[in-house]
């Protein structure tokens, strides 16, 4: 201890600053005194005997030494002391733990040692190392604390590693890195140490209980120690020495496990095993190994257990992806998704497997459709009305109804499939956007590969709007509309769908078959949202026509009342004025005078002609120059029919006169009214009727068939009396003996329900679609060229495809043909671009 030399200095006295040479002897003594105290303290600290040492005093010794510029000496003395201490006190107990047996058990995998023996031996060794290390580490921390000023004032400034670093480094240099040559082995202590730890971990993987805390302490030592005293972050012994061995060992372990799982061939077991192991290894990083390894060990597992054999596991018969999808194995699929999502941001394997399965199942729907007999009511339908006893009997359906049933069935099946995959998507696949895109594409693919899809979807909507939505809540109706829109999205040939929808809508409107005006409108507005204004223009026009027609009808009634001459025979007229463009051509066209000339004009009875003239007069008063064409096959009429009492019958309905209100098509009315003028028992031949009415033959066949074939509506008798349709050569008479339980009878017109087209009609539709496409393509080309003036060939094709894609799938040959046609018609001209590639020019 140095004592002060009194207060004289403060009063101006001179003092000498300490300098090395003059104060050397004094300094040395002081140094030796201080060091002696410190040395004793170090020994006490190692012996766990520091409780009575004053931190302040010890700290001050090193402080003084540093101020006296003897820091370097102190540093060296401490190092020397510690090295000696280490050699004498720390190393011998460790060497005592390392036996030949331990080496062979840890590194040579000697057969014949039991697991228990191996574990005990290993634990004993690790525990010894851990205890020794912890003692050493604690002592070195304390020593570093009292030498804090040395570290600050000397080590750091002189580029020397801190005392603590040097002294714990002894452990690395003199224990872990020592060779085992002395006991006849080529290994280092490090090798036994690592192998023993990993052996314990593998025991735990195999299901044994091990001392995790012990392993964690051992590994903690490796995290604290570095390759060199520079302590570079990536040179932790844990990272440089232990981890590579650990990862390689884990890789081998899981590779073997995965091979075993492959041999067992149960994908479901594999999923659960992998999921369990991932969680287990993550947990192990927290509790036993080091979190530093977490991403790396995860990668090992992902590679070995997921990526490498993914395809094989997906393909396993009975438990692979097919079985998972088909049997709705929600849990399996959820795990599968989680696993794949870990390894592949593109989810390629899952995406492809799903896409394939969707298309396969889609094909199956088609196959089932082909092989199903729709001539009897399908079980699915009878279930709905299970209480109705008569419905459970198979009921024969006619060909058209069969086809319609097939359409509904197809749509239902597709929707069921869609629902299934939607459910999987949201419950198992975390609403993954990539998978959604893939699923949508697959659905779109198989829907479009089925040639009747446009028609079937429109029929599905038709069926629902006619009867399907009856008694359903708003939410349920909403769901139906959603389904319809979902399907519509998949359809590529939107123009075809448009045609079918137009046709079906027309029938619904004109025959008042729509269940709800509101729902119809809602459907349209949804299509509008989905496909744009253009798409629904015609449909909206149709609704507008119907609306205006109702107004016109009312106005006409007022007009008639205003004329004052209401006779009893006045016919109540309900008129629908249809604007030609909005309505399907086949409805307007087949009977329209415009298309087929005057021969198609039916001859109406006089009463009706008067009515027509009267309306025409009224209508053209405000609308000069308009042409009205009467479409007989679309309208209908209520006729009061009187069937006379049949002589000789005293009981039963036939004994009285019977009055019925019969609702027939307009043509039906014309035909029936012919029989007003026939004598009892007089027959009219098909040809006669045709001549008198001028009804086009197909329509006439329909009308006569509907009135003469089915017993409930047999107002006319037909000869020959067969169940087949009326045909030229048949003859007809008024069925005086007709009776019916109902007063009001609605005679269904044979062709008025929407049903699947037959092949001929389809060809017709396709042809029309093809024609329309031609015009649309022409329009698109001209519009683009008008805007661009000059454009390269390839670019023009691309732009046209872009424009048309929302309506149908345009094919390039068609576009090329249209370009040629437009050149011939001198809308555009050939040109060349600067680089000589072909181009076109707009001809103004």
């Amino acid at each position: 201890m140095i004592s002060g030399r009194g207060g004289s200095m403060m009063r101006g006295g001179r003092i000498r600053p300490p300098r090395r040479p003059p104060t050397q002897s004094n300094g040395v003594n002081e140094f030796e005194q201080c060091w002696e105290k410190l040395r004793e303290a170090l020994r006490d600290i190692h012996m766990r005997n520091a409780g009575n040492l004053s931190f302040e005093q010890l700290y001050r010794f090193s402080y003084k030494i540093v101020l006296k510029k003897a820091g370097h000496q102190l540093y060296e003395r401490v190092k020397e002391f510690e090295e000696q201490w280490f050699a004498e006190e720390v190393m011998p107990p460790i060497w005592a733990l390392i036996s030949k047996k331990l080496i062979s058990v840890a590194l040579d995998e000697v057969p014949g040692t039991s697991v228990i023996e191996r574990r005990t031996l290993g634990e004993q060794f690790l525990r010894g190392v851990r205890n020794s290390w912890e003692n050493h580490n604690i002592s070195m921390n304390m020593i570093a604390d009292i030498l804090m000023y040395l570290d600050r004032g000397f080590s750091q400034d002189h580029g020397q590693p801190l005392i603590y670093i040097v002294t714990i480094g002894l452990y690395r240099d003199h224990i872990l890195r020592s060779s085992l040559k002395a006991i006849g082995s080529d290994y280092l202590v490090f090798d036994i140490f690592n192998a023993t730890i990993i052996d314990q971990i593998n025991m735990e993987r195999g299901g044994d209980v091990i001392d995790k805390a012990l392993l964690r302490s051992c590994i903690n030592m490796l995290e604290i120690l570095y390759e060199t005293d520079e302590e570079l972050e990536h040179e932790r012994l844990y990272l440089t020495s232990f981890e590579p061995v650990y990862l390689q060992n884990s890789r081998d372990y899981y590779r073997a496990e995965c091979d075993r799982l492959l041999r067992e061939g149960d994908a479901s077991a594999w999923l659960r095993y992998t999921q369990g192991r991932l969680a287990e290894e993550a947990d192990r990083c927290q509790t036993t190994v080091s979190v530093l390894s977490l991403p790396k060990i995860m990668q090992v597992l992902e590679q070995e257990l997921i990526t490498k054999h993914l395809e094989e596991f997906l393909g396993v018969e009975g438990s692979g992806i097919k079985a998972m999808i088909d049997n709705d194995r929600i849990e399996d699929l959820s795990i599968l998704y989680q696993l794949i999502a870990r390894v592949d941001p593109k989810r390629a394997a899952l995406r492809q497997a799903l896409a394939l399965r969707v298309v396969e199942l889609g094909r199956e729907i088609e196959q089932t459709l082909k092989s199903t007999d729709f001539s009897i009511v399908q079980p699915a339908d009878t279930e709905e009305a299970a209480d109705g006893a008569d419905k459970s009997k198979p009921k024969a359906l006619n060909a058209a109804a069969q086809q319609t049933a097939a359409a509904i069935r197809w749509v239902d099946d597709v929707l069921i499939l869609k629902d299934k995959f939607d459910r999987l998507w949201s419950t198992c696949f975390a609403e993954d956007l990539i998978l959604q895109t893939a699923l949508t594409k697959s659905f779109s693919d198989f829907v479009n590969s089925f040639e009747r899809s446009s028609e079937y979807v429109s029929l599905f909507i038709d069926d629902n709007l006619k009867r399907g939505i009856k008694g359903k809540t708003e939410a349920e109706v909403d769901a139906v509309l959603d389904k319809a829109i979902t399907l519509l999205r998949y359809i590529g040939e939107k123009d075809k769908f448009e045609q079918y929808y137009q046709k079906h809508l027309a029938r619904r409107l004109l025959h008042a078959k729509s269940e709800s005006q509101e729902v119809e409108q809602e459907m349209i507005s949804r299509m509008k949202r989905e496909l744009g204004n253009n798409f629904t223009q015609k449909f909206e026009g149709m609704f507008r026509d119907m609306h205006t027609s109702r107004e016109t009808t009312d106005q006409y009634r007022d007009y008639v009342r205003g004329l004052g001459e209401i006779s009893k025979s006045q016919i109540d007229l309900n008129i629908s004025v249809l604007a030609g463009n909005n309505w399907p051509k086949e409805i307007m066209g087949r009977t329209s005078g415009l298309a087929d000339g005057p021969k198609a004009k039916a001859i109406y009875p006089r009463e009706i002609q008067g009515l027509q003239d009267s309306f025409f007069q009224f209508y053209t008063k405000n609308r000069n120059g308009r042409v009205l064409t009467w479409i007989g096959n679309l309208g209908n009429a209520d006729i009061k029919c009187v069937f006379p009492k049949i002589p000789g019958k005293t009981t039963g309905p036939l004994s009285k006169e019977r009055r019925y209100e019969v609702n027939v098509s307009t043509y039906g009315m014309i035909v029936l009214m012919l029989f007003n003028n026939t004598a009892e028992g007089e027959w009219l031949s098909f040809e006669e009727i045709q001549e008198k009415t001028n009804i086009p033959q197909p329509d006439l066949i329909n009308v006569l068939t509907s009135l003469s074939v089915i017993k409930t509506y047999r107002i006319l008798l037909k000869e020959s009396q067969t169940k087949s349709a009326a045909k030229p050569g048949d003859r007809f008479t008024f069925n005086r003996e007709f009776f019916s339980k109902a007063i009001k009878i609605k005679v269904p017109s044979v062709n008025a329900t929407n049903r699947v087209e037959n092949d001929e009609e389809r060809r017709e539709t396709d042809k029309k679609a093809e024609e329309t496409r031609m015009y649309i393509t022409d329009a698109a080309i001209v519009r683009i060229m008008k805007q661009r003036k000059e454009l390269g060939h390839a670019q023009l094709i691309t732009e046209v495809i872009q424009v048309l894609a929302s309506r149908f799938k345009p094919d390039v040959p068609l576009i090329k043909r249209r370009i040629e046609a437009l050149i011939t018609r001198e809308y555009i001209d050939r040109a060349e671009l600067a680089d000589g590639s072909p181009a076109y020019q707009y001809v103004a």
């Binding site: 200095m9 600053p17 931190f55 604390d145």
Partner: protein
């Protein structure tokens, strides 16, 4: 948030030399200063290790300081609580006959406060012992501003001697400050015998002092040379 922060700071400031909640005793000479483990430990690595480790102080919670300047110690603790220290001497330390040992020969009766210039040096040195870096910077700042006016004092030479004897070689800040002042006011200082005596003693101060002129003379010379070459052409 800011409000509650202030409350904490004010609360801690109020605890200086206050037995309330005190759990640690600090003796500066014979004067007892009640202290608070948290306040000391969170600022000074010295106290942290002493109080947390397994040495005697971790049990006794008692520290006795008898080396260096009593007033500087007081100021260091004052700073740890309040973030500042006062120029005025603390009356509590006015105990006649109390003696503090100075590490390297300098010493003072504890009841006499340190000289106006030297007191900041001693706060700096004491802060260095306790490893309080912020306080070192703060004391240095105050020392430098004092030096601007007080370099004329006779105590400057003693101050320089004390700086060179009580700080480590790596602690260059104080040394630089005095060397700079000495150079600035060379014309006034040189005639002073006491200053010449200081330089005559040699040692690190003399070296640092001369070192100041090295840069100042070499640079103009090299400029001249290049000017000459240019002119010769």
């Amino acid at each position: 948030m800011a409000g509650s922060r202030n409350l904490v700071l004010e609360g801690i400031a109020k605890l200086f030399n206050n037995p309330e909640h005190a759990d640690t005793k600090v003796y500066i000479g014979s004067v007892e200063l009640p202290a608070h483990e948290v306040v000391l430990a969170i600022q000074s690595p010295f106290f942290k290790k002493a109080l947390i480790g397994s040495f005697q102080e971790s049990r006794t919670k008692e520290f006795r300081f008898a080396d260096g300047s009593a007033h500087a110690h007081w100021r260091v603790f004052e700073y740890m609580y309040t973030g500042d220290y006062s120029e005025e001497a603390n009356k509590l330390l006015d105990v006649k006959g109390e003696h503090f040992r100075f590490v390297f020969g300098l010493g003072a009766d504890s009841h006499i406060d340190d000289d106006e210039l030297i007191k900041h040096v001693r706060v700096y040195v004491t802060a260095d012992f306790f490893l309080l870096d912020e306080l070192k910077a703060y004391a240095l700042k105050r020392f430098k501003s004092k030096l601007q006016k007080l370099w004329v004092n006779k105590s400057l030479m003693d101050c320089i001697r004390e700086i060179y004897s009580s700080t480590n070689e790596s602690e260059v800040e104080l040394r630089n400050a005095v060397v700079k002042v000495a150079k600035e006011h060379l014309n006034d200082l040189w005639p002073n015998k006491a200053f010449q005596a200081l330089v005559r003693e040699g040692g690190n101060f003399a070296v640092d002092f001369v070192g100041q002129f090295y840069i100042a003379t070499v640079l103009p010379f090299s400029n001249q040379t290049s000017g000459f070459v240019f002119g010769h052409r």
